[in-house]
């Protein structure tokens, strides 16, 4: 018999481990319409719930008359705050330490706030019921402008806490004030500004927007009265946290709550929080004894279920005349809407905004964030972002451009001059972080070369001259952004959610035949965890990725984890996978030593098994060792081959990148064209380059949307004026630019496989890059800072304001 022995390359290729462009296992079901999303869940006797919502942004609710609604065929119940009070659920705690109305209790505080929950036999009857509920309002003065929130005569929004002058994050100094949070050294910073040669000060606003995944938020709650058990299927980025919250609120013991997050149609931060819809569906199921489905529509999603950003950042930089930064001072007015329901780790009311020193070596810095209430939807989620890092990156990257302009320095040169240098890592930032690793100069130089930066500036100079001579009506902008992110929350010493430390987990079971299942505390919403997690295990323990099933989202079977957001899956859960796999490998090594009759130390790992050092023909594959673990374990060793790891990261990870955008703008129409967009990302070790590129494309497209028009805008009486896909900007394939991607690799020194996370980098770095391109295009005509979003009309307005339209 002649058996061909596979080569090392063949053995390695067979694993489809880390670094390979493995095709996604998820796609097999998704391309055939066989995904299983929440709205696909159908249970016998299932009812449907729908909300009556407020037409007003601020009003007293005088009366809710449900008598007509209850006569509508198919309508079974109308739940109001009064109903919820009987189970003590009219209000619920938020992740940020505030409380929030589940259903309007006496007043409404934002347009489309939930007032009543109509339960009916199907979604049509529920909608009929909603139409038939009559609400009597008395309107109150509306507060929309964040800058007026703290005026002495500003309307009082939160009557429930008007006498409570201390909140979850310290003292409140006004009835619309939530917290003041400060970081850094005020005195040293003030002193540096006092003697600075050059300073800038600008209000840089990052407008309110919304993550709007293609699937809205939804759930099915099913309470079994006999067993006293509650099962909830939902669009949950963090299923275990939802289980804990549901247990604390409903008093149902946690082991009797089963939370299942099936396939999720995109999350982007929108699906982290607990929303009134979930609570109402659960209560409705308990009350009716039937399963209840709640599916919000797009308008409800955009106007009521969270928001992102809404930061007004007064940013000051001090520098020397020759372009060395000496201090940074930032004050943020943070508009949190009607309730502080921001999804941040408990101790971080402004998330990780204190990463706002960016990639630059600021000797001193001081930051103050004031959180305030307005008559807008609550939420403050991290839209493809790690807790306010996008805001921070926008703040510093715009401000650096403004300072470069003031100094008369090239924006790239100014950045190169101020980067944290490679030998400074681990680097302690002035606002308290320890950056684990980085090589900014290498990345920036590579990017500048790739885009032909010098030539671009030369071309721009020519175009500007031609414009001034009246030979063209087009101006050219070169946008630069060099961002540093902070992701992978986080170390238990400073990160928790409702008191639960932000570790994450993985349990691996290797079956007798050498196939395996891995169960995780995270939850993919499109990131491809089923594919990439298996790749990590494949490399670690030598089982082909195709023989490993990854399962997430079922709290009964998965180990407790904090979920997927803030680019934490790879930094935290990815590390848990490697650690669990290494426990399995250690046990397999004991079994191999016994079988091969050598000491463990005489063995070495070789792709897919152990071999005796110096005697490569004496070896055992992982497949053989798995069988032995169940068939003939060494004396004294427990049978089986399983491991679980709860990973508490020692530090965050700090991905970074250099982005360039080339844009041409027609000053007469405001129409811009993205000529080129180049993104270099350094996310450390790359697990699946295909998926990384895909994440970068997606994140850049969201960044493009946000910078160039995507906004939740309110009129002066608090109506959302663009709350549907009709006018909320979601780019189609036609508007979306083409993306060029590139990379450098600086592995994280503290992560077991050196990976840092990438999903959010393109959103973080992309927004300032587009905005800087617009600003750069106009700068030679005398502008200093043009606020986002930069839609055609607003760009046209800028040109008009400059007198370019004659």
């Amino acid at each position: 018999m002649n058996i061909a022995v596979p080569t090392r390359e063949q053995r390695e290729a067979k694993l489809e481990g880390m670094g390979c462009k493995r095709k996604r296992v998820e796609d097999i079901r998704f391309t055939q319409g066989k995904g299983n999303y929440v709205d696909d869940v159908k249970l016998p006797g299932m009812l449907f719930g729908d909300f009556v919502r407020s037409q007003y942004a601020h009003a007293r609710v005088k009366k809710i008359d449900d008598s007509k609604a209850l006569k509508v065929p198919g309508v079974l119940a109308v739940i109001t705050a009064e109903t919820l009070k009987t189970v003590n659920l009219a209000w619920m705690p938020t992740l940020a330490g505030d409380v929030q109305m589940v259903l309007a209790d006496g007043k409404v505080l934002f347009q489309n706030q939930e007032i009543a929950f109509v339960v009916a036999v199907d979604r049509y009857a529920a909608a009929d019921g909603v139409e038939a509920v009559e609400v009597e309002y008395e309107d109150l003065p509306v507060l929309v402008d964040a800058f007026k929130a703290l005026a002495p005569d500003a309307p009082l929004l939160r009557e429930d806490i008007k006498d409570k002058m201390t909140g979850a994050h310290g003292p409140r100094r006004h009835h619309n004030h939530i917290f003041e949070w400060s970081m850094g050294d005020k005195d040293l910073t003030d002193a540096a500004f006092a003697k600075a040669e050059v300073t800038t000060k600008d209000v840089i606003s990052y407008h309110r927007t919304h993550p709007s995944p293609l699937e809205t938020c939804q759930c099915v709650a099913s309470f079994d009265k006999i067993k006293g058990e509650l099962t909830v299927w939902g669009t949950f980025q963090a299923p275990h946290v939802i289980r804990t919250v549901a247990s604390l609120l409903s008093k149902i013991p946690e082991h009797k709550i089963h939370v299942i997050a099936p396939d999720i149609g995109g999350g982007f931060g929108n699906k982290v929080g607990a929303y009134p819809g979930y609570i109402c569906a659960i209560v409705a199921s308990i009350v009716t004894g039937k399963p209840v489905k709640w599916v919000e529509d797009r308008i409800e999603n955009l106007t009521a279920t969270s928001f992102a950003r809404d930061y007004h950042m007064t940013t000051e930089i001090a520098a020397t005349k020759d372009g060395k930064v000496t201090a940074l001072r930032v004050h943020v007015l943070a508009d949190h809407g009607a309730f502080d329901a921001c999804a941040d780790p408990s101790k971080w009311p402004a998330g990780f905004f204190n990463i706002c020193t960016g990639s630059y070596d600021f000797p001193v810095a001081h930051l103050v964030v004031d959180g305030i209430y307005t008559n807008k939807a609550p939420g403050g989620v991290a839209y493809r972002c790690s807790f306010r890092v996008t805001e921070a990156a926008y703040c510093i990257e715009r401000a650096m451009d403004i300072m470069a302009q003031k100094l008369g320095m090239d924006a790239a040169e100014f950045r190169l001059k101020n980067f944290v240098r490679r030998e400074q890592f681990p680097y302690h930032s002035a606002l308290g972080w320890e950056y684990d690793s980085g090589d900014y100069h290498t990345a920036m130089n590579k990017a500048m070369e790739a885009v032909g930066y010098k030539q671009l500036r030369a071309e721009q100079a020519e175009k500007r001259a031609a414009f001034k001579r009246g030979e063209t009506r087009e101006i050219m902008g070169i946008g630069i952004s060099f961002f540093t992110e902070i992701v992978g929350a986080g170390p238990s010493r400073n990160c928790d959610i409702l008191g639960v430390a932000m570790f994450d987990s993985c349990e691996i079971r290797v079956h007798p035949t050498g196939a395996a299942i891995a169960r995780m505390g995270t939850k993919s919403q499109g990131q491809g965890h089923e594919t990439t997690y298996a790749q990590i295990i494949a490399t670690e323990i030598g089982i082909p990725a195709d023989d490993i099933m990854v399962e997430e989202g079922n709290t009964d079977t998965a180990p407790y984890g904090l979920g997927t957001y803030g680019s934490r899956s790879t930094p935290v859960a990815g590390a848990a996978i490697a650690m669990a796999a290494r426990k399995i490998k250690a046990k397999a090594q004991m079994i191999a030593a016994y079988m091969l009759e050598v000491h463990e130390a005489d063995l070495e790992w070789d792709i897919d098994g152990f071999r005796v050092k110096g005697l490569p023909e004496k070896s055992k594959t992982m497949k053989e060792l798995a069988w032995a673990a169940y068939n003939s374990p060494p004396p004294g060793l427990e049978p089986g081959l399983e491991a679980v790891s709860y990973y508490d990261p020692p530090n965050m990870t700090y991905p970074f990148g250099a982005y360039f955008c080339v844009m041409d703008i027609d000053v007469d129409t405001g129409v811009y064209k993205i000529r080129r967009f180049y993104a270099l990302d350094d996310c450390g070790t790359r697990i699946n380059p295909m998926i990384i590129e895909g994440q970068v494309h997606g994140g850049l497209t969201e960044a493009f949307a946000i910078a160039m028009g995507q906004e939740i805008r309110y009129d002066e009486i608090g109506n959302v004026v663009n709350g549907s896909f009709m006018d909320f900007f979601i780019p189609t394939a036609v508007e979306t630019p083409k993306w060029e991607t590139d990379y450098t690799v600086t592995p994280s020194p503290h992560h077991p496989i050196g990976a840092k996370g990438v999903g959010e980098s393109p959103n973080v770095g992309g927004v300032p890059c587009f905005s800087n391109a617009v600003n750069d295009a106009f700068a030679f005509l005398g502008t200093r800072h043009i606020q986002m979003p930069h839609d055609y009309w607003r760009i046209w307005e800028v040109a008009k304001g400059l007198g370019l339209h004659g």
């Binding site: 709007s212 499109g526 895909g694 979601i730």
Partner: protein, 166 residues
Amino acid sequence: MAKMHVKMNVNGAEVESLVEPRTLLIHHLRETLNLTGPHIGCDTTHCGACTIDMDGKSVKSCTVFAVQADGAMITTIEGMANPDGTLHALQEGFRMMHGLQCGFCTPGMIVRAHRLLKEIPNPTEDEIRFGIAGNLCRCTGYQNIVKAIQYAAAKLSGAPMQEAAE
């Protein structure tokens, strides 16, 4: 509400049902016929997640009443595979070129691309981008969707392409 009798051919099978006149086709497909491939992503006919093929046209099934589909020939994502059970070139292309992430837009996107390739068998990139502009994707940034459609076009015209996803 009085129900009406409708009969349609869905993925090759004749189906008859009684529906309320106001029932949207997407709800009829998803809830009565259990075809949960087409999805719902908006209320304003913008997202295309609900796209099906109806009488030789791409149709947003959230904006058609089931009764309007009486007598229609309908194909949903569930009916896209080849008669021998192998996957359609588009289904294969989307996987090969990484043209999907969360998968929520994918059924509508593939069904739309199917009709596009019937209309224009060898589309240019611009024609593809314009041709799928009625379908929104929040995850991919479209670049790999374009490639997936190019992959399928090449395969269907007998000249398979070699280039893999980035």
